[in-house]
């Protein structure tokens, strides 16, 4: 067994309203940043044990589907780093 750090970017699906992003964009404008879009999602890091990187990725994917992302509204991607 080896140790890996999974990184999941979890964000709202395309087309789903992101009120937090909207409000943040408004304030960035007020602060005179030239931003045109803000989306706010989650960055979840999980340390796991797995046989290899392929297995680790599969576990990350399963975690995303079953718990870490809300399938109705969110999409996610997984990256793996060996520790």
């Amino acid at each position: 067994m080896k140790t890996y750090r999974l990184g999941l970017h979890v964000g709202l699906k395309e087309g789903v309203l992101d009120p937090a992003g909207q409000a943040t964009l408004q304030v960035l404008h007020q602060m005179e940043f030239a931003a045109t879009e803000v989306r706010i999602g989650k960055w979840i890091q999980v340390v796991i044990e797995a046989e290899d990187e392929v297995r680790a990725l599969a576990i990350g994917d399963e975690m995303g589907r079953r718990l870490l992302a809300n399938p109705v509204m969110e999409a996610f991607d997984v990256t793996v780093t060996p520790l």
Partner: protein, 236 residues
């Protein structure tokens, strides 16, 4: 002198999404002071004696509660006024904004259970902020809390200093004034519910909601009177 006689003018800063502004204005008027609503877009403060940043969900509490409001145009002027010694009181979201702005030490993180909590709590006065009259160390106040992000934290090594310097104003306690982990509603470090720095005071509970016994407590009235430098009624 009573508040009516001094006719103190209290600026109430309203951000988009503030929702305790009307309650605060009402409380201020009940005490005989004159409220003056200040729009978050102002860059200069009019002639006022004191400032309150009321509770609510400025900018929907998006990103982090208080963070977006802390960047509002008026906050430069609030910072200058505070430096010049004007009494500034941040209630709940106002407290979060003052921390985000760096006018108070520490930060307010989401409650560890991840849930909003609204109920009456007992608060113990641990240090009396400068300018307050009629409150003593050890007094207990019954005040409502209502927040999602009230878990007060400070950076490493800072806690000791806060206590040393008398900056810890209120702590969540049991009805007898004893502070212990079971009376901590939100995971705040050392049960801290309110802090002070110079003329700036921030607290999570809502004194403006505790203005009469039939509302559950009149201790909010006492706390606000103390802030105005007025000796209020008796403690519990």
């Amino acid at each position: 002198m009573t508040l009516e006689e001094t006719r103190q003018v209290v600026g109430i800063v309203v951000f988009p999404g503030s929702n305790c502004d009307q309650d605060t204005i009402q409380a201020i008027m009940d005490l005989g002071a004159i409220p003056r609503v200040l729009d978050y877009r102002l860059r200069q403060l009019p002639a006022i004696d004191r400032l309150i940043l009321p509770g609510g969900f400025s900018y929907g509490d998006y990103l982090r509660s208080g963070a977006l409001a802390a960047a509002a145009p008026i906050m430069d002027a609030v910072g200058e006024a505070a430096t010049a010694g004007m009494p500034v009181l941040g209630i709940c979201n106002g407290f979060q904004i003052l921390c985000e702005r760096g006018l108070l030490p520490g930060a307010l993180l989401p409650n560890p259970h991840g849930e909003f909590v609204c109920r009456l709590e007992t608060l113990r006065v641990t240090a009396v902020p400068s300018g307050f009259q009629g409150l003593s160390v050890g007094d207990r106040l019954a005040l409502p809390i209502a927040h999602h992000e009230g878990s007060y934290r400070v950076s490493d090594g800072k806690l000791h200093e806060l206590f040393e310097q008398g900056q810890v104003f209120l702590q969540y306690s049991d009805p007898d004034g004893v502070v212990h982990p079971l009376t901590n509603p939100n995971g705040s470090v050392a049960n801290i519910a309110g802090v002070t720095q110079g003329s700036v005071v921030g607290l999570m509970p809502h004194p403006e909601r505790a203005m009469a016994e039939y509302l559950g407590s009149a201790d909010g009235r006492r706390l606000l009177q103390a802030w105005f430098g007025q000796k209020g009624g008796h403690g519990c």
